[in-house]
């Protein structure tokens, strides 16, 4: 699939919303064409759809292009891999963007992420894939190095 997803489209909800928006866009534009409106009326599009169209150089005024885009988005909605990332605090957009870039570059170009909050991890992140959990938190790091903590405590006493 030659489609590229912008970083603003990060989660499965974004994909679903985008799918619904494209469907609505096609319906409204088709109705306008069938009514022989001059000029044809197109609904306003979201920043995400605009970014997607710009990134993939898609002419949204072309119904066939829109239909192909819809099909691709539908395929992504159904089959895009997903990872869940838990953060200790609310991540900034920049951090999310850098993570998405990494995942789409290194793992899968259509991967979507789901963000969660887990304050108990203190620092780091916990990544959950469909069958596994990758704990990159400070708690896991401390647990893995608890013998060093014990040695440090013994030195302190």
């Amino acid at each position: 699939m030659d489609l590229k997803l912008p970083t603003t489209i990060a989660s499965r909800k974004d994909i679903i919303r985008l799918h619904r928006e494209i469907r609505s866009f096609i319906d409204v534009s088709t109705q306008s064409i069938m009514r022989h409106d001059n000029p044809v009326k197109y609904p306003a599009i979201s920043d995400q759809l605009r970014a997607l169209a710009v990134l993939n150089q898609i002419d949204m005024r072309d119904p066939k292009s829109c239909e192909r885009l819809l099909q691709k988005i539908d395929t992504i909605k159904e089959h895009a891999p997903s990872v869940h990332i838990s953060f200790p605090t609310e991540p900034s957009a920049d951090i999310l963007e850098r993570l998405i870039v990494w995942f789409r570059k290194e793992i899968d170009p259509f991967i979507v992420i789901q963000v969660g909050l887990q304050p108990t991890i203190a620092a780091g992140v916990v990544v959950r894939t469909p069958n596994h959990q990758f704990d990159f938190s400070l708690r896991r790091h401390l647990y893995a190095n608890r013998h060093k903590l014990g040695e440090a405590l013994q030195r302190a006493y």
């Binding site: 953060f87 304050p119 108990t120 069958n131 014990g150």
Partner: protein, 206 residues
């Protein structure tokens, strides 16, 4: 004058009177018959007795007898008093001796009983002390073992939960002040390390 003396005097008088009567009766016996002689002898004896034992003599005898009796009574009372004193003294001595002996015996028994009781008490105390000491050692060992086990359990629990404790401390100490941006290198480092595993799991999951 003793009673014996008085009795001898009385006996001498009676014998004298009898001899006198016998001589009178003997002189008249040849001239008178038997009954008359007897009557005469009786009268003579009576008269003689009356003459000899007149009221004054009888009073004298009574006085003598009374005095002698009083003397005898006095002497006997004195003897009795002496005997009584002697007996009392002896009795006192005997009582003292017996009481002393009895007391000594009782004290000896008492002392022996006390000694036995003391020995039993000491033995019992020693046994009790031995048992207490034994129990103390057992308890001490139990306490030591339990303390060591508790210490080991606490240390184990602490070591087991040390990561959580430190993590909790960090969370409480700095909380949300940890900047995710500064953690990105650390996060990307881990992601790079586990990239292959993540990729395989996603492919197998999808």
């Amino acid at each position: 004058m003793t009673t014996t003396t008085i009795a001898l005097i009385i006996a001498a008088l009676v014998v004298g009177g009898a001899v006198f009567i016998w001589f009178i009766l003997r002189s008249e016996k040849t001239e008178q018959s038997g009954r008359d002689i007897d009557t005469q002898l009786a009268n003579t004896a009576k008269t003689g007795v009356d003459k000899i034992f007149d009221e004054e003599f009888r009073e004298e005898l009574r006085n003598r007898g009374r005095l002698h009796f009083e003397k005898i009574i006095g002497e006997n009372a004195m003897f009795l008093q002496q005997d009584l004193r002697l007996t009392t003294t002896q009795l006192n001595e005997y009582m003292k001796t017996e009481i002393k002996r009895t007391l000594q015996s009782e004290f000896s028994k008492y002392e022996e009983s006390i000694t036995t009781a003391k020995d039993l008490a000491l033995e019992s105390i020693e046994k009790t002390q031995a048992v207490i000491e034994q129990q103390r050692l057992v308890l001490e060992k139990q306490m030591t073992d339990e303390a060591a086990a508790e210490k080991a359990r606490m240390l184990s629990s602490f070591e087991k939960n040390m990561a959580d404790i430190v993590n909790h401390y960090i969370l409480e100490a700095i909380g949300n002040e940890i900047d995710l941006t500064v953690q990105l290198d650390y996060i990307f480092g881990y992601l790079e390390e586990n990239k292959q595993a993540i990729m395989e799991d996603i492919k197998s999951g999808s």
